[in-house]
């Protein structure tokens, strides 16, 4: 029990040190631009099909599932606005972040973990390359920048999915549908949802890197790093989301 608690505190300190080290290194030249772009491609672009399919299905399913309830109140006309609002405010960021936690965080964790275990990181240090800068900073930056863009894609594709769902039962033109959505949207819906995706991205990259970078020697720790990276990242996403929503609510009610 005490050792467990000690572990928790230890981990907290280590994560904090890791985060500070990231912020320390990120503004210091030399910048690994090429590696950053490569990571953006691998982590962002490669995740797009997965995010697109999920986003489309979420929009479609949300529309189909909400329709009977809305129809009960005679409020079917509000369906596009409601689906778009829930997509943009909550569903798309969370679903995209969770998918990326599964795909990216575990990938980073496994990659860095195996590099650590096979002493590649130590080899890098020996050959005068800062491994933290080359491996960690580029990845965290890449996820921080790419996740919000992926969320924007998920929003748009989800709205198109909602349009498809609407057209199963009624005929709505795309223009009318988009107009309805724009009518019900406000900046207060978009801006906080976008800001929190940066935090999602940062924590997805950070947790993956931390778990990989701190993998202890031994092959099985690679799997453990990947696994715990997914779990911790998913949990972190929900906690950040809760805090973000509460802050938004506080601000909106002012």
């Amino acid at each position: 029990m005490t050792t467990n608690l000690k572990d928790v505190f230890n981990n907290t300190t280590n994560v904090t040190i890791f985060t500070f080290r990231f912020w320390d290194e990120v503004f210091k030249p030399p910048f690994e631009i090429k590696e950053f772009i490569k990571q953006c491609y691998l982590l962002g672009y490669k995740a797009l099909p997965l995010v697109a399919i999920t986003g489309f299905i979420m929009g479609l399913v949300l529309t189909i599932q909400s329709r009977p309830t809305m129809a009960k109140f005679g409020a079917e006309a509000w369906l596009p606005g409601m689906v778009a609002l829930s997509m943009i405010k909550e569903v798309a960021p969370i679903i995209t972040a969770l998918i990326c936690a599964g795909k990216i965080s575990s990938g980073i964790g496994a990659e860095l973990g195996s590099m650590k275990v096979t002493e590649q990181i130590d080899a890098m240090e020996v050959s005068a390359i800062n491994p933290f800068k080359y491996l960690v900073v580029t990845r965290i930056l890449a996820t921080t920048v790419m996740i919000p863009i992926l969320v924007v894609f998920a929003d748009c594709i989800g709205i198109i999915g909602g349009f498809t769902g609407m057209n199963i039962h009624t005929d709505v033109t795309l223009f009318r549908y988009l107009h309805k959505i724009l009518e019900s949207l406000n900046f207060i819906d978009i801006v906080p949802a976008t800001i929190k995706t940066f935090f999602f991205g940062f924590f997805i990259g950070m947790i993956g890197c931390y778990k990989g970078f701190t993998a202890s020697n031994g092959t099985e720790s690679v799997g453990r790093a990947a696994n715990s990276a997914v779990v911790a990242a998913s949990l972190a996403i929900f906690i950040i989301d809760m805090i973000a929503v509460q802050l938004t609510d506080l601000y909106a009610s002012l």
Binding site: I37, K38, Y45, I149, V152, D155, L185, N186, F187, I190
Partner: protein, 286 residues
């Protein structure tokens, strides 16, 4: 290296499309909130804004033409509302335009509606002030409803009294409704009335077809003339007779007899006169 640069354009496309989508969304939302088009400002003063909020729509002729920018409490009874309006509608809003606050549907948001004003007045200027119109207040509505409900209460109590009287009273109306005997006799009367009216109808038909004596008396002009001449003959005849009678009266023997006769004759003359009168009246009414 070659492979990496082959992938670079995909990444660039991905990022640019993402950013463009985001910017488009921001632009359109801003456009629907009048952030990027040219606008002008209007002010209006209200006693009570009834839950109007910053960001609610301003309507003119049923079209959303602006939004509420600020709501400011000036004194304890006056609130200044600032509106940001599209420049295109400025020329339609005259200086005597009115603003009033209503709601959008039963559950909807509050909306500020602008009534245009008279068209020969000059156009409202930027930062102009327009008057406000107190729309129907819920409280006043409830007050007027209350008075009418009170009236309804009085009416219903009186109505209850009235129906009680009908059910239990002894007046004609209550008898009409409740008394079975009365209704039976009424029914009999009605039947009799029906029969007699039928008879009357037959009678009038006979009267009009002009064959019987009475109908002739009523409708035949010739008969009337004849009757007239007969009467005048009768008059001359009676004159002669009365002269003879005067002579006979002076005769002593016949005096007693003639006294009675004279009375009879007078009676008859009166009757004739009556007859004549009736005839004249009938003819007049015709």
């Amino acid at each position: 290296m070659n492979k990496e640069s082959g992938n670079q354009w995909k990444l660039g496309m991905f990022v640019i499309i993402g950013i463009i989508l985001f910017v488009i969304a921001i632009y359109f939302i801003g456009k629907s909130k009048n952030l990027f088009s040219s606008t002008f400002t209007l002010h209006s003063q209200f006693k009570n804004v009834r839950g109007l909020k910053v960001g609610n729509n301003v309507r003119f002729a049923g079209i959303n033409v602006g939004t509420i920018a600020e709501i400011e409490l000036i004194t304890d009874t006056s609130v200044i509302v600032d509106m940001i309006m599209k420049v295109e509608v400025q020329k339609f809003i005259k200086s005597d335009a009115m603003a009033s606050i209503g709601s959008d549907g039963l559950m909807g948001d509050k909306v500020l509606t602008i009534y245009p004003g008279t068209f020969n007045k000059r156009m409202i200027s930027n930062n102009g002030f327009i008057n406000s119109k107190n729309a129907l207040e819920m409280e006043e509505l409830l007050k007027s409803i209350k008075t009418s409900v009170d009236n309804v209460g009085i009416i219903t109590t009186q109505l209850a009294e009235f129906t009680f009287k009908i059910n239990n009273g002894k007046g004609a109306l209550s008898k009409l409704i409740t008394d079975e005997e009365f209704s039976k006799s009424l029914k009999g009367t009605l039947i009799n009335l029906e029969i007699s009216s039928k008879e009357f109808a037959k009678f009038t038909v006979k009267m009009n077809d002009g064959k019987g004596a009475l109908s002739k008396l009523v409708s035949d002009e010739q008969l009337a003339n004849k009757l007239d001449s007969t009467i005048s003959n009768l008059q001359t005849g009676t004159k002669g007779l009365s002269e003879n009678m005067e002579a006979a009266k002076s005769n002593l023997f016949l005096r007693g007899f003639f006294n009675t006769k004279k009375k009879n004759a007078a009676k008859r003359a009166v009757e004739l006169k009556k007859n004549e009168k009736v005839l004249k009246e009938v003819n007049n009414s015709k």
